[in-house]
């Protein structure tokens, strides 16, 4: 029972809403981890505020018997930071690109209640290109991937994806497999 419960944290399948029968998820992509580090660093910096305040005003706080009020205020502050950290992580986690053997699904999560889902069937893929911008993206191996669809339809751009070359190859392989009618192994 406990093992079964714990197993969802180890080997949860990459299944999603509206998954077709027999549809296989080839890649589940999220933005590179580097993109979430800047807001997280800001929140970690905010963790220092109660500590610095406590050190600066310790004599005043203890003289006026405000120690527990200060601890209480600090714990509310940390609760707020904890919430903000996981809000950022939730948006990061839910902003995904799913590449299956049938299609590409782009879940664009902008806020908790603002979500844009676009879908592109692999037989409509014409061209895939990657773009790496700057020194950080080059060294950490992430960049933008642009998928061009047939005709004058819109482009699909996936920003700051890890291993863009590998992703491009997978998308092109999927498109070629669908065109030729041979199932990829």
């Amino acid at each position: 029972m406990i093992n079964k419960l714990i197993s969802i944290f180890r080997d949860s399948p990459n299944s999603f809403d509206d998954q077709e029968k027999g549809e296989i998820v080839l890649l589940l992509l999220r933005r590179h981890i580097f993109t979430i580090l800047a807001p997280l660093a800001l929140f970690l910096l905010a963790c220092l505020v109660p500590i610095v305040t406590g050190i600066m005003f310790y004599s005043f706080i203890s003289a006026h018997h405000l120690l527990y009020l200060f601890y209480f205020g600090s714990s509310l502050w940390y609760m707020g930071i904890w919430m903000a950290i996981f809000y950022a992580l939730t948006i990061y986690t839910l902003d995904t690109v799913i590449i299956t053997d049938h299609r590409i699904i782009d879940n664009d999560q902008r806020g908790l209640f603002y979500r844009n889902v676009s879908e592109l069937h692999s037989h409509r893929i014409q061209d895939v290109s990657t773009r790496t911008n700057g020194i950080i993206e080059t060294f950490l191996n992430f960049g933008d991937i642009t998928v061009q669809t047939a005709g004058s339809e819109k482009q699909f751009v996936f920003h700051q994806m890890p291993n863009p070359i590998k992703v491009k190859d997978t998308i092109m392989q999927t498109a070629a497999t669908r065109d030729s009618g041979v199932k990829a192994l």
Binding site: F9, R30, H64, L76, M79, Y87, L89, T90, T93
Partner: protein, 75 residues
Amino acid sequence: MVDAFPLQLILNIFVALIFLLYWGLTFVILYHLARFGIGVQPKRFAAIFLFGSVVLSGFAIIFLNNIDIQSFIPL
């Protein structure tokens, strides 16, 4: 001695509202991670978030109980 009851009541209502808001938002985040999350990562985040929220709320309640309201009231 001045009666501390109204001040205690105001503090308790204020804290109750904060906790209501906090746990409402916590529910929304946990729901999104569990409902829309794909793969292992959202489940792990949800578990860590819930554990941390419970611990931090526990600390907040303990500190709240130790606050001496009488010390804020001028004699």
